[in-house]
Symmetry: C2
Subunit: 284 residues, 2 copies
Amino acid sequence: MELIIAKHAGFCFGVKRATLLAFEKASDGATGETCTLGPIIHSPQVVQRLEEKGVRVVNNLSQIEKGRIILRSHGVTSTEMKEAHEKGLEVIDATCPFVRKAQSYVQLLSDQGYEVLVVGDRDHPEVEGIVSYASKAVTVVASPEEASSLPKMKRLGVVAQTTQSYETLEAVVEVCLAKVQELRVFNTICDATSVRQDEAKILARQVECMVVIGGFNSANTRRLAEICLELQQNTHHVETADQLSGEWFKGIKSVGITAGASTPKWLIDEVVDRIKAFGGDKKD
Amino acid sequence: MELIIAKHAGFCFGVKRATLLAFEKASDGATGETCTLGPIIHSPQVVQRLEEKGVRVVNNLSQIEKGRIILRSHGVTSTEMKEAHEKGLEVIDATCPFVRKAQSYVQLLSDQGYEVLVVGDRDHPEVEGIVSYASKAVTVVASPEEASSLPKMKRLGVVAQTTQSYETLEAVVEVCLAKVQELRVFNTICDATSVRQDEAKILARQVECMVVIGGFNSANTRRLAEICLELQQNTHHVETADQLSGEWFKGIKSVGITAGASTPKWLIDEVVDRIKAFGGDKKD
């Protein structure tokens, strides 16, 4: 059995940065408590390792009175940012720089008097953070169909959730162009997502079994698994090696492995080792 | 024979304004010469009437030393505007306000450091004027195919020739979005053109003969005639009533009439009267 691991499996730039920052702070010997506001990244295993090092997850700022607060890669709302500073907490901002850009653009557009539209999932923490930087109400749409109900406007600014598909942004822009006199689009999509997805598509067509590793609470991992499943019925989404079943690999000649943006390398390695134990030969 | 005249045949807002201004200045009894820089609008008949009132057409500013200069509806270049003022001429700016807006947006984008793209016909006087307001080189494309050879850019601003088709602008925007981080589009298309064209399409399908009136040097009239010809083979483009032939209307039950943006009402009326003389009944 041949094992092929996707080149772009696992951590994206922003997640790697946030995780390194959190582990660094967890081990720097500083006195006082270190917390993360929400899970630092969407990986329960990483969150657990940090907890073992004394980093607690709080869901809101009322749960921490002093010490250090790490702001997760998805970013937080402007109110939370302000509150954290006002409370006198030491703020460690692990917001992904690409997300930070999207926040700034929403703020800039709003300050310059544009109506603001965010293309993304309104319930995602990243989007909740992004929209909070506008000085007035922001519209969030997930599709061109949703955008088509927007009224005519004079000046509209568009920003995208960093993990949006380019096709959705393009289709929303097309709909908006017909409604406005001035359209200002910041393409804030990070191509890590599409690169990982495109690579997974090629791999899923090539192998007899696909294993997608990542948090069940990670939207990008779930989407990655869906994409693979469309092309390869024998696709399995797991968080850890323990969830693998030897049955999946019986009589299989080739296995493809990929992982979401918040999946650490050690989790991928564990899965690879376990599949090898089932009789696979690793090939990068 | 029934005659149907398109509701939006003839003068658009900017042309009407420029023509009124020119005739007003031609008759206000002021001393000194009044010239227009290039033909005031693309109608040889209107230009001739103005000449009869003493308004001379000059092709460049070296042909006028003193007096008044009327700047045509298509606008002039920023250099010509500056030179006219420096020469001490009295400048009557008959630039269409929609064209003026496109000029201002190009200037604004250029001043703010954007690369600037104009969607239009690079040889058209309007476009020559618009691009001149940028402080650095501007790219002009007439189609998405031309836009596809543009390089990747950070910040791109897009402005359209006022008579561009919306479909072309939309397609160019789609191509550009994939090449830039920030795309700022000013939709400077004036819908007078599309309204006139859409109305002509309906009319051309409905009648047995189409007459399109307007200058042979008028791009919008030529395009109007082309559109009609696609739907009605019996289409004729004329500048004046004298160019009509009785043969065209023999055995014809219905005639549709439309006219380009620079065709004055009196030219339309003359054509209508002549067709009536061939046996038509006017119906607006």
